[in-house]
Symmetry: D2
Subunit: 388 residues, 4 copies
């Protein structure tokens, strides 16, 4: 089931990550490997032009077969072959590809949650993804403070993306390391909360054109949206739909599923702005171990209870001021794998951090996530910044 | 899974026919009946405005829950209650409704096959619905003859639609019986075959604007269609996709899945025309017992092997010249059930006969089926007629 | 300027009717005739596939050149050549074509008014087409009476469409003359008025699904229409936009610019129906001389003041129950001219009579006008009929 | 006439620039001023939310009235009042507004040319805007050289946008002046020519997915474009449509009317990239006096004959690598005038320089023009840059 052109069925995510290993590791590098099914590459290639034609993205919902069971079998087949491949020592190139495949799969683990939430939200009765998740979140407020930064020349990004050699994985779009010049700024030490967002709504935030970019305002008029995507006012009380179903709004929880246009309007209303990605990277701490996908906590936590008290990681992705463009000197890898990130560098905005659905070990300070500024089905929120 | 706005998921068809019994029989007439689930009426009402709001048709594919197993349970619940209802003697009204519910379900049994074929055809690899059906059809040609009719005043239609009283079921749109005046005509004694359709194609039938209604020609230009919907030319050989998968074209099999615009163009090319529904009804025989849905024969048969040698019934529905309008003096039943047929009487063309997927006992000479003239996912073919 | 895909710019109408004479009379029949401009046939062919390719209909608004003055010059060129052609005696064929060309032009004279009204209505301030037309219409009510008809076999239509031979012009779609069988019926002796339409509105006519065909109801929901196209409620008072600008509603004026779906719903609400075209033709009188386009009266008149007291002609076209299909035995003329009417005989409803914008001499009892049932930019109203 | 939603009719441009003076200068600051027509603000407001509601942009083509003559009269009325206003000494604020209004009008003078070209290109026969412009351009080649820049900290932008005080006009989006850090780079000393673009085409540039951003590639597949917008291959020879009509391709003329996606793909194919706007600004010279709109030269000139031999100005706007975002510390002016630039800073790319249709005195080194990366009806070309 595919609830919009940008989302994919759960089954498809699973088959696609399996296909990635098959296509980039097994087929070219395991001598006696035979494709599980010669038709699968057509079905489960996402967007790699260089490895052949593929099923159109917006028609992924039409793939009735193979069924769930057969995809599990496909996964077993590929896992077993990967096992064989890794019995002998891997070349640096192969080792890098294997690690890339695992990070690719982690990305899809999170996307799968975002897509599932969207799909369930389109069901007339909005069933829960997982209703055992108890709502034990404590909504203690935590006042915001501004962290100061003096600006000047700074270094951001990663040196290169060969994980085996440098003992650390990153995507190609985080490279190369380079200098930027910053003006002095301050940045918030926590995320914007639902309580603050309510003030924005109550102050007419969705009705004041002066707060919005022109394109965002036009979209708003068309959609008649007047609150974040999954908010719902029932008998004068706000409810929020999430993976654990529809629940009362938790005021101190970080706001999530807002578009860049919403985040930008909120920041303007706050007499502030979104941070640039460089500012964010300079101010952020490191991902704490506890900030990752946890089926008992299917929603972001308040700053008072988040494992990362400044909420850089593990709650919601954070929109930045920065358009997603290549770093100076960026070169995509050669071959099909070069299509991974490079070709999406237009009409997207960078998000930093990680969300409550990001798998353990996947987050990092230099990570550049990106989505179109009008998208709001992702786990996306914001923190503020200001010039000094 | 919903492969186009006009089609419905298999699961939905099953739940909807169950809902029909629940809504029109059990809820108003079985005193202690309790709805299986108060949300189901919203999900499974098709188009009855008078019984409440409903889920939009084109979003039926989003109903992930209830699942197949729960719908089977729903059916058991309703069957059991119907059993109880029918233990005591039924009023005429109730008995009529029960019979209507059964005919309604039979319609959906056939629609389900049409929709499944469409859905499978949209899968990139076109899997078969049922591949055990062996292709034992004999493709013996049978020359066509013209049946003559002298015209004049004739009577068509059914007296009224109360099945219990008149011991015969019909839908309201077949009433009232009335007179029409016809000019002398002749009508073919069998259906148009794939072999004849190939001649039409080879003679440029899909490229000659003079053969087509303006609207059909414009649609053709847009779709770039140049053969019936499920035909496919592979290496200079024609194949046809059907419930039994993609197979070589059987030349003497009746052509199926053509739109009214295609049928009309073919008739013009043949220097003939489609029959009016009155002409068809006067010339047709009665449905033979063997002409009905048979899982071993998932395709129409040639005139030489059809149980109904003149092929009025049991192969493909037959487009007529007649627009679907009410018969003179037609009155829909009162209440919600009046929405069954009456409100669709515009921009549709009448089809007569029945198809290889029509359930046993469902066909009859006065039956008025109807679809939009551009539709071609139904089991629809044609026979010719001419003025004398 | 083209205000919707179905409408054409005024300039285009003038050039197209000129082109018609050039293409069907001058070019094939005047030996030394030279095209005014070899590019014009491409620009001003409406839909004749057989005479060559053409500019797409929905892009007629892009033809900035030739300008108005050059089109007047084009017309002069063609008029002068027609003069020469008619100096010698014309063959029957040529004479017929000439008469056809004139009736074709008359049709466009009326269409031009309909299109101009639509265009002006889309202007933000709705300027008048001609504001000198004084609103001297007297709105005297005239009670309705039912004209009785006993039904039985009747003859309608015209024998054939060769005007010179039979001294009377008609279009091919009015032929051949043929018999129909009718049940006894009654038909109203005047048109439905705005006053009656207001009652329909006030009784919830646009909110009651039971009154509407399914397709009309769906369109209504989408458009949020709740009154005829050019009606406008300003401060609790109804105004109507017409060629003379926006004016207060005249209660006894026939309602105009309603779609077939609206007319059909109104008839159902009245416990009546629309007449079939055969019923209309049998009951109608003959067009009176005074019922034609008059720049001083740019709106329909009440039954009390109409030159045709039963309002068959000269006020508004009248929707019928009948789908626009060929008469039994109909054959379009050979060649390109056969595209005039025949290829539009699907998904259209027949209208009878004529309107206040129909040119003098153009109306006749057997005339079959036709539009899609959802269209409402034409001068279209209704009268009622009932079974006896 | 409006040939696409983004373009405006010529008449509209003229009325809108007049409205700008009326709204921002006369109405608030000339005490006895009376609006020429109280309805005009609704018709000719482009996008200023703060000054009232307005006619939708994509329906500007429907404004049949006022006509051209009345708009000239409107202009006269406003000019006369401006004359009166400027008789007494102006405050700094008013003086700034007057200068802004003039630069605003200059922008529309150029937009009017771009829109007119688009409109004429949509006419089936592509008439010339001005055919007296003789094609005397000399197509002498000029080899390209790379200008070197060592990078490091650099200053770009303008201090502030109050023209009267600082004796120099600029738009608010060029402020504030700020520092950026650049890596060493080289930038071309002339524009890319049609000859070079032909090589790109001949090398399969429009068929190689690896050269394109994903969004650009998808658009290309949909549009089936395989050359710049106004190029046209006739009998194996390339022609280009411009304001002077369709003419043979001038090989050494700068390529124009390419989208950012095309420019970016070309740069990748050249093993180079587009310059950032900072790089461009640092390398550029000053606009020479002769580089401006000249009705005798309605096309860009070759580097050998351009008044600006390095072609920074006066030929075509030049796409940059930079997304259009606010400079650090940017603040839009208060009030409605703050909507001029600020609210468009998303999903647009910056262009630098000026074109052959830019009015005299309008160009400057810090000027930030911007369009969506898929747009190609503007006079847009490119020059290359590379990392050292």
């Amino acid at each position: 089931m595919q609830s919009m052109p940008d989302a994919s069925p759960t089954k498809w995510h699973r088959a696609h990550t399996t296909w990635f290993f098959e296509t980039f590791l097994l087929e070219p590098h395991l001598s006696d490997y035979r494709l599980y099914n010669v038709e699968f590459p057509y079905l489960f290639n996402s967007y790699y032009e260089a490895v052949g034609s593929r099923h159109p993205r917006h028609e992924r919902g039409l793939i009735s077969r193979p069924g769930t069971a057969e995809i599990a079998h496909y996964r077993g087949h590929v896992d077993e072959a990967l096992q064989r491949l890794t019995e002998s020592e891997l070349s640096l190139e192969l080792s890098d590809l294997l690690i890339l495949g695992m990070h690719h799969e982690q990305q899809h683990q999170e996307l799968l949650c975002m897509d599932a939430l969207h799909m369930l939200s389109r069901h007339p009765f909005r069933p829960a993804y997982c209703d055992h998740a108890e709502d034990t979140r404590k909504d203690e407020p935590r006042p915001q403070r501004w962290l100061q930064h003096e600006g000047g020349l700074a270094t951001i990004g990663q040196r290169h993306s060969a994980p085996t050699a440098q003992k650390q994985f990153c995507f190609d779009n985080e490279t190369p390391q380079h200098q930027v010049h910053l003006e002095p700024f301050q940045i918030s030490d926590r995320l914007i909360t639902c309580s603050e967002w309510l003030e924005f709504i109550d102050d007419g935030g969705y009705q004041r054109s002066d707060l919005w970019m022109s394109e965002g305002w036009a979209a708003l008029a068309k959609s008649e949206q007047s609150a974040p995507r999954y908010w719902n006012r029932v008998d004068a009380r706000w409810k929020v739909f999430g993976l654990a179903g529809e629940r009362a709004l938790n005021l101190e929880q970080p706001v999530t599923n807002v578009s860049w246009f919403e985040a930008d309007a909120f920041a303007r209303w706050s007499d502030a702005r979104l941070p640039t990605e460089a500012e964010w990277e300079l101010a952020a701490g490191s991902p704490p171990p506890g900030a990752h996908l946890n089926l008992d906590v299917l929603a972001p936590r308040s700053a008072a209870t988040s494992p990362d008290s400044q909420q850089w990681f593990g709650e919601v992705w954070q929109w930045t001021e920065s358009s997603y463009r290549p770093y100076p000197g960026y070169r995509p890898p050669r071959g099909a794998i070069g299509e991974y990130n490079g070709k999406f560098m237009m009409n997207q905005q960078v998000l930093r951090g990680s969300s409550y659905a990001t798998p353990a070990g996947h987050a990092r300070k230099t990570y550049r996530n990106f989505f179109a500024p009008s998208s709001n089905w992702m786990f996306s929120g914001l923190r503020l910044a200001r010039d000094i």
